[in-house]
Amino acid sequence: MAIEYQYPEYEVVRDHDRCIGCRVCERQCANCVHAFIEEKERMTADESKCVNCHRCVALCPTHALKIVKNAHTFRENANWSGQLIREVYRQADTGGVLLSSMGNPQNHPVYFDKILINASQVTNPSNDPLREPVETRVFLGKKSHRIERDGRGAILPKIMPSLQLKVPVLFSAMSYGSISYNAHEALARAAEALGICYNTGEGGLHEDLKKYGKNTIVQVASGRFGVHVDYLLSGAAIEIKMGQGAKPGIGGHLPGSKIFGDVAKTRMIPAGADAISPAPHHDIYSIEDLRQLIYVLKEATAYQKPVIVKIAAVHNIAAIASGIARSGADIIAIDGFRGGTGAAPTRIRDNVGIPIELAVASVDRRLREEGIRNEVSLLAGGSIRSSADIVKAVALGADAVYIATAALLSLGCHLCRSCHAGRCNWGIATQVPELTKRLNPELGHARLINLVNAWEHEIKEMMGGMGINSIEALRGNRLMLRGVGLTQKELDILGIRHAGE
């Protein structure tokens, strides 16, 4: 039926004067957009298959290609956007749930962009991080103010399970299966070199990556894939995944087509079987059940590892976090509604959850009001896009941040948001061997190191500008922030003042 036809969203523009017919684009495109017409001896493109991932653009030796947004349009309508119309057509065609990948692209307010950072002038000096120490090291875990002393009065330093990070940044959970082995290797090696941590996600830990255990957070999610005692013991911390910002209230589904070989083995499931993570943990229907799982994991690891509980930022986040802090967790990771995913129902991704800025500010406040802020550290994730976002997140009360989209971007991701298709041309969100080999873990890990080092420099410059020479003194330091263009209610929730006040 003719209404099934949808005009392509993108146009592949080829400069035929530049094109030498080398067919690199054709070989590189897993979506089979490009083709060579023998009789005309020239390239052509089927734009309907294009996801705008820029692989062909980046590899074209003569820079003959560009992808532009198609000017083809529906009649303008402020209510019914072209996107919505197309989605209705697709659902009428298939009867299916719309799927999407990566973070919420909708035009919701980005509070980070409406917050400005302070700097010293006259009354106190700024610090120059090139000349003076500006410290970014953080410890994540419980803090105790109960001092014990030996007979001679010397403090007995109690060793509490904690994570030590050189920079307040961690790579957040992405499972082996949803991303490639090479991507995991790049993350693990970068985390080790940077003195930070990466997170296995719920796909288990590949045997060859065990050696990065000191820099690994092992995740336990509702599917319990790859969880066994050696796995728990091999990480530096254990994360219980209760929710994800991109799809709060929803589980996960890794299709059987991605589950073969090492992916199947690492997940401890048969090849070809779909890996379905239920929406809830079926042994956690309430907070007291969560407490049991936390202590099960602590028992299994002799109370040596901090336990992180990761939750999606939802409406009642402050009360939920308070409950978790009282349930034995050492760290709470909050994932904002802009956080990424390898696959989520579009409507969930775009409509469920709340912004991380508001969530972290209100959780930090609630925990302080209840006098339990020292019981847990707070991790903020769900679209931390730059060093400035990190500074703002920390000043709003986070101890450190989780990044994933930014990490994938540095590995080559172009945010085409098609991970769920499994044909990632950059070798990240795919298990197809011809594609995964495109990601060189050596180069990838170097780029991740560059990114975090660059951000560290920028964080230090901003901290130095404020006259703060240790990140501990930035945490929750809301006086260093001002809002622009925010309502009084928004300012109150963030706990900051308006610029000029």
Binding site: V122, T123, N124, I147, G371, N469, S470
Partner: protein, 365 residues
């Protein structure tokens, strides 16, 4: 002054001068010395606040808490005294003697009470005596409009006002007091005429703080202290520093050396060079007392029962020297403030960033 522009309603950064004199033997000496010392630092203040803390000045009442209270109106005094009568035995009360002088204007009513917690109330509260008294001070300051307790220790007192410190000293007739330790402060707020309560020293129980600097960690420190039940009503650096010292020393039980290692923690690069178990101990303190680290410039003189501590921020972004002569120990923003009192010093020392210089009475009193 417009109500909304005073401390507590806005945050006012300020530069300053500090000075302190301590006699290790506990020999009491007159208050004129500290006035002479801080007067030399006139240029470091701007007439918007000055004050003194004096230890060992009330030997005849040393068993009782000496409450110094500003009242802005009679009603506040009536209400406060009703509160005090409900919670304490008032052993003695009087106006604090002052001297009328043109340099000091707009004075509130300034009263002094020697009190002791009512035993029944104290038992009912299940608190130790000091915590009980501190909580009562918070209740007056937060709850009674126009009343402000600015000194609440035993055998010590704070005297402060809006004005240059040397004028404030003469106003309070400080030369008539004799103590073993005096600290002084001259204030240079960047903003608006200061309020009497906003002048330094800031004190809680026996702890008093004079401070020069503007700390960049203020809001982090404030939030940490508010979580532990302190109410930062003035929004000044000195207030939160005083609470941190009270919290760390009195409530957590850290020694003053350890308090210094928390508020002006050594840099990680320094800690890593330390041998074990020192490294582990310092790491432990930084890890667990992260929110109690103070960043930004400061020089502090902390007075406490039987001792005095001088300390700078860890980068030493504010000046501070210490010196000794016989049984006397001195600390001040500038050496001239010490030489003004004692020209022939045995030794002058510039403490390094974050290095505390702590003096306590030799007899351990």
């Amino acid at each position: 002054m417009r109500e909304e522009l005073r401390e507590g309603n806005i945050r006012i950064p300020s530069g300053c001068a500090v000075s302190g004199i301590f006699n290790r033997k506990g020999t009491r000496f007159g208050g004129e010395a500290i006035i002479r010392s801080i007067a030399v630092l006139h240029e470091r203040s701007n007439g918007l606040g000055g004050g003194f803390a004096a230890y060992g000045i009330y030997p005849e009442y040393k068993e009782y808490y000496a409450l110094h209270i500003f009242y802005e109106r009679d009603a506040a005094k009536t209400e406060t005294e009703r509160f005090l009568n409900r919670h304490f035995d008032i052993i003695n009360l009087s106006k604090i003697p002052t001297r009328q002088m043109p340099e000091i204007k707009d004075e509130p009513l300034i009263w002094r009470y020697f009190v002791q917690p009512l035993p029944t109330k104290l038992a009912g509260a299940q608190l130790d005596e000091r915590e009980y008294t501190a909580r009562c001070v918070f209740r007056i300051n937060a709850g009674i409009e126009g009343a402000y307790v600015f000194s609440s220790g035993k055998d010590m007192g704070v005297f402060k006002a809006v004005g240059y410190p040397e004028d404030v000293g003469r106003f309070y007739r400080l030369e008539e007091y004799r103590g073993y330790c005096f600290t002084a402060h001259g204030r240079y707020p960047t903003n608006t005429p200061g309020w009497w309560g906003g002048a330094h020293p800031f004190a809680l129980l026996d702890y008093s703080v004079v401070h020069n600097g503007e700390i960049s960690s203020y809001d982090t420190n404030r939030q940490a202290m508010e979580m532990f039940g302190y109410h930062c009503s003035l929004q000044t650096d000195t207030e939160v520093i005083a609470y941190m010292i009270d919290y760390l020393n009195r409530k957590v039980g850290l020694t003053f050396e350890e308090v210094a290692e928390v508020i002006a923690a050594p840099f990680w690069q320094t800690i890593e060079q330390k041998p074990e178990p020192e490294r582990q101990r310092l790491t432990y303190l930084r890890q667990n007392f992260a929110a109690e680290l103070i960043t930004g410039p400061f020089s502090l003189i902390v007075g406490f029962k039987g001792g005095m501590m001088a300390i700078n921020d860890r980068l030493k972004l504010r000046s501070m020297v210490t010196a000794e002569k016989g049984d006397f120990f001195y600390a001040a923003s500038e050496e001239c403030a010490i030489r003004a009192v004692e020209p022939a010093l045995d030794g002058v020392y510039a403490p390094k960033g974050g290095e505390p210089v702590i003096m306590t009475l030799e007899n351990g009193e």
